[in-house]
Subunit: 426 residues, 2 copies
Amino acid sequence: MTDCKFAGDAEVIDFARRHSGQFEAGATLNVEEIGDGNINFVFRVFEPGGASVIIKQALPYVRIIGEGWPLSQDRIRIEAEALMLEADYCPDLVPKVYHFDADRSAIVMEDIGAYENLRHALVARARLPHLADQLGRFCADTLFHTSDLYLDAHRKKEMVARFINPDLCKITEDLFFWDPYCDHERNNINPLIHSEAEALWSDEPLKLEVARLKHRFLCAAEALVHGDLHSGSVFANAEGTRVIDPEFAYFGPIGFDVGSLIGNLLLNYAGQSQLPGDDAERQAYREWLLQAVATFWNTFSGRFLGHMEAHTADPSLDLPAYREALLADLLADSLGYAGTELIRRTIGLAHVLDLEAIEDAQQRAQAETLALRLGRTLILERRAFDSIEAVLERIREWVTRNASPVTRFRCASLRSAASYVSSPAL
Amino acid sequence: MTDCKFAGDAEVIDFARRHSGQFEAGATLNVEEIGDGNINFVFRVFEPGGASVIIKQALPYVRIIGEGWPLSQDRIRIEAEALMLEADYCPDLVPKVYHFDADRSAIVMEDIGAYENLRHALVARARLPHLADQLGRFCADTLFHTSDLYLDAHRKKEMVARFINPDLCKITEDLFFWDPYCDHERNNINPLIHSEAEALWSDEPLKLEVARLKHRFLCAAEALVHGDLHSGSVFANAEGTRVIDPEFAYFGPIGFDVGSLIGNLLLNYAGQSQLPGDDAERQAYREWLLQAVATFWNTFSGRFLGHMEAHTADPSLDLPAYREALLADLLADSLGYAGTELIRRTIGLAHVLDLEAIEDAQQRAQAETLALRLGRTLILERRAFDSIEAVLERIREWVTRNASPVTRFRCASLRSAASYVSSPAL
């Protein structure tokens, strides 16, 4: 079913004109292909100086590979339905869907060109005053309202079936939970940290905890998670935030979304240790990032608690002690998934600008080593923290105490994997 | 869609003749309705002195209530598909399906009349030499092969969708995890243990743990569980075992099936403290029951471990430490669900012969109190045991040390609920 592909610009423009409701009849429209992701086609259709819309189209294969890597087009239905569900609870935080066309495997949606890709903004050390709060609200409101705490028993199960998403889940299952923990050909490893990577491959305590996190990713149908909530799926500016691209959405562990965002803020924290620029500015920004993690978690957990207190539908789950226990479990889970994001973005297939923008390979190795070790600590110690502040204190304390361990590590990067395995988590 | 109902005996016989392949052409066939459950119709079609088959039919409502309690007929498709899947791994432990007819909402299957209902056998103190071992094998083989440990990622998710079973799950969600922990009108409580029941309703630590177990029942899609694996779903004799009625099947926590069976053996253990008969014989049978629990768990866990070692398909889950951790989690989970079965069968809607066969209300109250307290202990202490032997030792030790606490309790049954809440778990 590849014949849904637009034959040319005229077809794209005609499609936008008919399905968006955003253009005057007879308006002159232009189109540009703006997709910077790997999987889909993204077009911007606009009237010069006037309205604009985005058309996202999913073909039955991965865009940058071609027909050699087939991928279910059901992903675009899932994305459209997830966007519309998210809009039920956070209409100001997702692009508006004007139309979903199953035959074309295409969504016509709001153009969010006024917002910047969050990854680029973080690399540029932008301070976005509402970001952490708005992302906390996004997670609390979308995840609570698609969980058993809120949904009717029948509706929940019907939604689980609608959001079965095997092709996209398999990508995460492999890239997050398998590749980085073995010598996989898909991995992409800075040669200067190869011994760090090797150490992970024989780190049995870590692999055990990653297996547990993977098992939960596979089985724990807690809520409709976005499933790909990294900085590249967030657009933001000084006023607002838009979360896009929920094509990986499925019913999974709540902590996966929350942890992905924490992991991405911490990837930038690791990167800012070596990115170019003034030392004091970089250090101040790193502290801003940690504060953003705290604000994000505290907003998420505070709102989630409020929703549980006010709107838990199932009386057997409506207990103060259960609310407390669930939030403690969610913090541990989130830290664990944050750790897997830190590790897979450092030595796995898909790297991030937060680290890649460090041009010098030696300096990049230092930031990468910090990311790996931070990830390992979060995974192994995730159940030891009773608040996000305690987590951040642990990070600050470790970074201060080991101001130069990374430098030391560079000198010792040829140590055997075995000697590293026996060292403490961070 | 009630027109699938058989119009009379002739239609049932004709259906059996056409769809079972078990009868000679021209054979004289008789039919009897033998259903002793509450929900479906069950017919036995037989040639006097010759072959016989069972026809199970699901109408779109609960049989004993009528159209006032509608129930999805999809349950009979789920039962047929679950029976056939179970037969892939344990063909000797389930009735053979000759035919499933979606239009009639009916299954034609093997007659297991040579086997006795396990609940009746246990009440009669039958010693079934292969029972525990065969049930352990049933659980290990069906649950392992429908889990992420064995299944391909796509196949698992496709099966999760096929076995979404909201109507039947909702019954369990309410009867196991809600009714017994509040003053629900569906409950059926011996007035002599009313204060014991009241104590549960204000037992916050217990309600917290039951909420956690419910959350896992709702979310943990670990394997295709039978979902209703009590003694009444098992038929057995000295040689063999047949597990029937998987209409509650869905992807849920492995420990739910394992725990249901443990709970049912322990319900009989509680009942045998007061059932009529010779003291020494009853005590010896109770020890046989505990041994059966041990054999069941050890067979299950030993085979499950063997399958993990030999057939885990996902390399990231194929770790010795993960196997050990998973089995420890499964033991805790199973004990928790065993506890919920003990409690809900004692004060909830659906009672069991193991306790109901005790005619004297005072004596029944003693056995019921034991069942409740044992259930509470298993739920609260489920994570404290490192082997099934340790669990059984805990039970024996408690029963010996408190040889008369139940008698004492009878005298004190008017104590306030509050004073009981503060007493230790057993």
